[in-house]
């Protein structure tokens, strides 16, 4: 009889990173579909450019530079979709292309690939575009792809929360702190019902890779994002506050984790 010997545990839960990435894509699909319906061919062109450029960049780097067997794990699709949703409908197509290449090459692969990046790649792409070509990124009066009825995004968010793919503590504390601070400063908080804000809170601030591990850390991260969003909001517009708040909080994620580690439960 040939039986094998191995270390415990002898059973594993039926989840994998691929499933989590697929879940993320599924959660974004309603938003993508409604965006395509509302904005038509230009939206289609932007989304396709973003996704293809992201996947292509990742594939090229992993295959030719890192010599990996599997060129992409699908997470580049999520990055591409998120970046596309942040762009204005009337941007020339070289904008999404450069954004996606920068997001993957610098935002992700330069740090060591999926799991090692410090910043949310889509936000890195977005930030570079915003600073380099502000005229294209802040066209007044032109809608962004994400400017869709908010419930469409909430359906996706509910799916992610139900499946346990995102850390619920972050959106909860983010939303509460924004509402509370806005009330305290007597500011208008109606932007929490705008697509861009919901996308940020549920899809970008919850990216597992760039957010704290510790339970307390997740609350601090969410509250920090909320405070920064409101402060930015005093001077800028909602579209930028959400993204910059998350980027800034991403940068201190390891610090948060270092300072709020839970006390271990020790016997004796």
């Amino acid at each position: 009889m040939s039986i094998i010997v191995s270390a415990p545990p002898h059973i594993k839960k039926d989840t994998c990173t691929k499933k989590m990435v697929c879940g993320m894509i599924i959660a974004l699909l309603p938003a993508v579909a409604v965006s395509l319906y509302l904005f038509g061919p230009p939206a289609m062109a932007i989304i396709l450019t973003c996704v293809l450029a992201a996947v292509g960049t990742e594939g090229a780097i992993q295959k030719f530079i890192l010599k990996k067997a599997i060129p992409t794990d699908g997470s580049a699709i999520v990055t591409g979709l998120l970046l596309a949703l942040l762009l204005h409908v009337n941007v020339p197509l070289w904008i999404p292309f450069i954004g996606a290449v920068v997001a993957i090459a610098i935002g992700k692969q330069a740090f060591g690939g999926y799991g090692s990046n410090i910043f949310n790649p889509a936000l890195v792409g977005w930030a570079v575009l915003t600073m380099a070509w502000p005229s294209h990124m802040a066209s007044a009066g032109v809608a962004r792809l994400v400017d869709i009825p908010p419930f469409v995004l909430l359906v996706g968010a509910a799916f992610l929360l139900y499946m346990g793919y995102i850390k619920w503590q972050i959106p909860a504390s983010y939303l509460i702190s924004v509402v509370f601070l806005s009330a305290l400063l007597a500011r208008d908080a109606s932007y929490i019902f705008i697509g861009g804000f919901i996308l940020g809170v549920f899809f970008m601030a919850t990216d597992p890779v760039t957010t704290p591990l510790t339970k307390k850390g997740r609350f601090i991260f969410g509250i920090g994002c909320g405070i920064l969003t409101v402060i930015y909001g005093l001077y800028g517009n909602y579209a930028e506050d959400v993204c910059y708040s998350i980027l800034l909080m991403n940068s201190i994620t390891p610090l948060i984790d270092r300072f709020v580690r839970a006390k271990p439960f020790v016997e004796g």
Binding site: M1, I3, I4, V5, S6, A7, P8, P9, H10, I11, K12, K13, T15, C16, T17, K19, M20, D73, G113, Y114, G115, S116, G164, K167, P208, V209, T210, T211, P212, L213, T214, K215, R218, D257, R261, A262, K263, P264, F265, V266, E267, G268
Partner: protein, 400 residues
């Protein structure tokens, strides 16, 4: 209906390892050719003796595979089929002194997770019995409570007397109302014994964690148990204590949850029965076995042969087949923190695994690696399929 089926067929061969507890190995008290009876003491070293579980002839005293150790000196008995036993001397525990009870439990060789139970019976205020089942597939505690409620309550009283405790609690899974009701009925006359429904999961090796969960709940209900010293044991041990004191029977049989066979069930097997005979009793293998695990899928030990005997600490046998045994490709950690959420010791398992993988044992220490009880939950939930527990175990060995 009975939950536990005794295996009545006497195995062809009974193997009693002389090492069934942590500590010095027992010395054989019999030699090849001797005839022994059920309950006869056949090995002793002053810590925790072993007894024969069958009547018959000693055919060999030699090294034999053991479910938890490497080869261990074992007494091999060929049963004569008569099942003759020595005379058991029953006692009334209410008439016994504390030291007498401890002595009887010691002589009966009662062992729990490798620890001789009599060494745990230091003076305490509260005795807590664990009636929770550890992992999927392990249902023996539930079965024990349904089948032997009054024996367990008497066993608990014996343990209370032996430790001088005034109160006894039985922690039972909150979803297991059947067992809770049965135990409540059995304990109805004794105001000092209570069942405690718990929502936490039981983790092997974290008795104190379990005790705290019970005590915390009792405090929240208004009971005054502040800083109580607690003795934690299991319902199986309580039953063994009952058998030892009230029946005079040493520990020669154990209850085993058998899964992954034709008829998955809880059986009561003689200590020394080869796993193969237990599996045959349960209808045999469902196909070609790929892995045989003793004691639950989360922390259990994979065996290299089904000839190993059931010992005092074998409580589960899980047979896995080709489709159950997968070796998924390891993906990079994505910081999803699922392992952090399930860790009962409040650690950061993914960080520990990453440090261990990079030989950064200094950082492992700083992240309290020694608090890890190796429950396996992190590796179970990990979507990247990282062998977290193995990495942590490896780092612990290095740090030693």
């Amino acid at each position: 209906m009975r939950q536990i089926e005794p295996i009545t067929k006497i195995p062809e061969k009974v193997i009693i390892p002389l090492q069934q507890h942590v500590g010095a190995e027992n010395k054989p008290l019999v030699s090849v050719g001797d005839v022994v009876k059920i309950g006869q003491k056949i090995g002793e070293s002053g810590i925790s003796p072993v007894h024969s579980s069958a009547s018959g002839k000693v055919t060999a005293i030699s090294e034999y595979p053991h479910p938890f150790y490497e080869n261990v000196l074992s007494i091999i008995i060929e049963p004569d089929g008569k099942d003759a036993s020595i005379e058991f001397k029953a006692e009334d525990y209410s008439q016994l002194e504390r030291e007498q009870i401890i002595g009887i439990i010691k002589e009966a060789g009662v062992v729990e997770s490798g620890i001789p139970v009599h060494t745990k019976l230091s003076p305490s205020d509260v005795v807590i019995l664990n009636g929770m089942d550890e992992a999927p597939y392990m249902t023996l505690n539930r079965a024990l409570m349904l089948d032997f409620p009054s024996e367990i309550i008497d066993g608990l009283k014996i343990l209370m007397k032996a430790t001088g405790a005034s109160r006894g609690f039985i922690g039972i899974d909150a979803s297991n109302s059947e067992a809770t009701n049965t135990m409540n009925k059995a304990a109805v006359d004794d105001l000092n014994i209570e069942t405690v429904p718990l929502k936490t999961t039981y983790v092997r090796g974290m008795e104190e964690f379990f005790a705290k969960a019970v005590v915390k709940r009792e405090i929240s209900r208004g009971h005054r148990i502040s800083n109580a010293s607690t003795m934690t044991s299991t319902v199986g041990t309580a039953r063994a204590a009952y058998d030892a004191v009230c029946m005079g029977k040493p520990l020669t049989e154990t209850v085993v949850s058998v899964w992954g066979v034709k008829k998955s069930q809880n059986v009561q097997a003689k200590i020394g029965t080869p796993l193969r005979s237990v599996i045959e009793h349960c209808g045999g293998y469902k196909g070609k076995p790929k892995k045989i695990v003793v004691n639950g899928p989360m922390t259990g030990v994979a065996q290299y042969t089904d000839e190993v005997p059931v010992t005092k600490d074998v409580h589960g046998i899980l047979v896995q087949y080709k489709e159950d045994v997968t070796t998924p490709e390891i993906q990079p950690c994505i910081n999803c923190a699922k392992c952090v959420d399930v860790c009962p010791a409040n650690l950061l398992p993914n960080m520990l695994a990453a440090f261990a993988n990079e030989d950064r044992f200094d950082m492992c220490k700083r992240y309290n690696i020694s608090a890890c009880v190796e429950c396996g939950k992190c590796a179970y939930v990990c979507p990247s399929k990282i062998p977290i527990v193995q990495l942590i175990k490896c780092a612990k060995e290095w740090i030693k």
